[in-house]
Structures are given as structure tokens and as C-alpha cells.
Symmetry: C2
């Protein structure tokens, strides 16, 4: 039985190793509506979070397998609902990295007394992600038609997904 590496909070020094994953995922263009002209410097505030939000990494033998960020979806009167984003290294797909990060993310929200988790924009053609979130209990609240410009599928829908976290 192998000892599984733990998901841990990202520190500032992790960013140079997170950036290649971020860059590869955004360039691939299948999953995120981030600005398309980000550099290692300008991308940092899009991913590295300040409290009460948190960015985490999953690392194995010195290699970064994936990263996630999580925190309140809105300030003020919406701050009791969380949200999160995930990126798995293209070289580490199919190994359950997304699920490990997802399970950590749900536990994080429970620990911090959020009453639910909302994903604002899950690309409908990213079926592996949609199935994973459904496996974790998320439901599709609705789909905004044609809201994502996929390089391979054209204009596709963005799901709003939600997981209630009863207190």
C-alpha cells in the first residue's frame, strides 16, 4: 500500500511550478474563460488566493500534479456560499488528481462552515469534470447556452452547478 501525498496549502514559492500547469490548461482552451494574454506575473493574482480564500497543490515526489483554489463565491450577503477552480497537469490526467482535489475542496468548505458550493461556469463539453462533480453530489442548476467559445466544439454551454452543505 502506497502512502498518498496530501493536498497542502500553496505557498508563494509554488507559483513558478503552478504557472506551467495554468498556462497549459488555459492555452488548451477547453475549460476556463481566463484572459488569453496572461504572463507568469499577470496570471498570479488570478490563481494565488488571499484569505479567506485558499489555493492548494497536490505534489508527488517533487512534481506538481494539480492545483485548486477555493473561497467565498461572492462577498457580503453571498459569502456563505463557496466556489472553487481546478487544474490538473496535462501529464497527470486519469490518475484521480481532480477527485483528490475535489474531495479536499468539499471538506475545506465544510470546515469553514459554508452552506453550499457553487460552480459558476463548468464547460458542458468537459464531461469528465461534470461527471466528477456529479459524483461528489453537485447538481446542474442550469446551463447558459453558448457562453463558452471552445476551440474544438465552438460555442458551448456553461453549467452552473451546486452542492448544498447542510449544517
Amino acid at each position: 500500500m502506497s502512502i498518498q501525498p496530501a493536498v497542502r496549502a500553496a505557498v508563494d514559492d509554488d507559483w513558478p511550478r503552478i504557472w506551467p500547469i495554468f498556462d497549459a490548461v488555459v492555452r488548451e482552451g477547453q475549460t476556463y474563460a481566463y484572459p488569453l494574454d496572461l504572463t507568469m506575473e499577470s496570471a498570479k493574482p488570478w490563481w494565488m488566493s488571499e484569505p479567506p480564500a485558499e489555493t492548494v497543490v497536490l505534489e508527488e515526489g517533487g512534481v506538481l500534479l494539480g492545483t485548486a483554489k477555493m473561497g467565498p463565491n461572492r462577498p457580503g450577503r453571498g459569502a456563505h456560499i463557496g466556489t472553487a477552480s481546478f487544474m490538473v497537469s496535462p501529464t497527470a490526467r486519469g490518475r484521480g488528481v481532480g477527485r483528490r482535489l475535489g474531495e479536499h475542496m468539499v471538506a475545506w468548505h465544510r470546515e469553514h462552515d459554508f452552506t453550499g458550493i457553487q460552480f459558476n461556469a463548468v464547460v458542458e463539453t468537459n464531461t469528465a469534470a461534470v461527471r466528477l462533480w456529479q459524483d461528489l453530489g453537485f447538481e446542474i442548476i442550469g446551463t447558459v447556452p453558448g457562453a463558452f467559445d471552445s476551440p474544438t466544439h465552438g460555442r458551448v454551454g456553461l453549467h452552473v452547478m451546486f452542492l448544498p452543505l447542510p449544517g
Copy 2:
């Protein structure tokens, strides 16, 4: 027949007169999940937009009746869908100010070749707004349950609403 004042782009000097409306609406707490500790200075970037987004005002006889901001809902692969927010002065309600701003906002998105307009968080108990947007053709895509903490209604849902703009 009275000459109706036009909706116009807000300039920097408008902010000191927009701020009291922003402050009153946020304090009332029925419609927006903005931070609850904003000042005139810190609130400004939450409302005064930079291109390609735009903030507008509706003014009559030197009195600001309402304001709206509009622009891309997401960057990059989501930038073809717009979004907008609206605030009507508490002293100018029931006079069609929201509708005037809303009609301007739809025309603005058409002019700028957006293919749809998404509202991310319409408070379900704000029935006047929900009906107005439905009147303008918006549909409720889905409702995130309990996502808004209303001071009078408790935890209520946030509608995601959408208006397609066929080219």
C-alpha cells in the same frame, strides 16, 4: 410631451453623486452581494468601469435617478456574453428608471455585438427586477438556492438569467 433625459456614459466626476445611491442600495441589502464595509473611495472600482465595460447614469434636472454598469461577463473565451448591474435611487423608484436603463443596456450589448446577456445573481425576492428582466426577454436559467442572505427574507435564491441576442 416632455423631453426625456437620455442615458449617458458616466464620467469620473459623477462618482460622488453615484456613491450615495450605491451606498443606500447596498445598505438596504435586498439586491446585491457587495462587500459590506465599502467607503466612497473603496466602492469606486466596484461600480465605475473601464473599457470595454461602461458605466452609465440617468439624470434629470441635475438629479441622478439611477445608474448601471455593463460589459463582458467573463474574459477570454467567455467575453462574447455580456452582463450588467443596476441601481435606482431610492427617491426615484416606480418611475421607470430601471426600465430605461435596462433598455439602454440591451441596445448597448447589441451595438457591441455580444451574443447574449447573463445576469449572474438576481435576488429571487427582488420581484420587480425579475419581472422587468422577463419583460425585456430574459429567462431564468436556474436558481441557486439560499445563496443570498436577505435582511428581511433570510436565505433566498439567486437567479441566473439570460437573454440571447441573435446576430
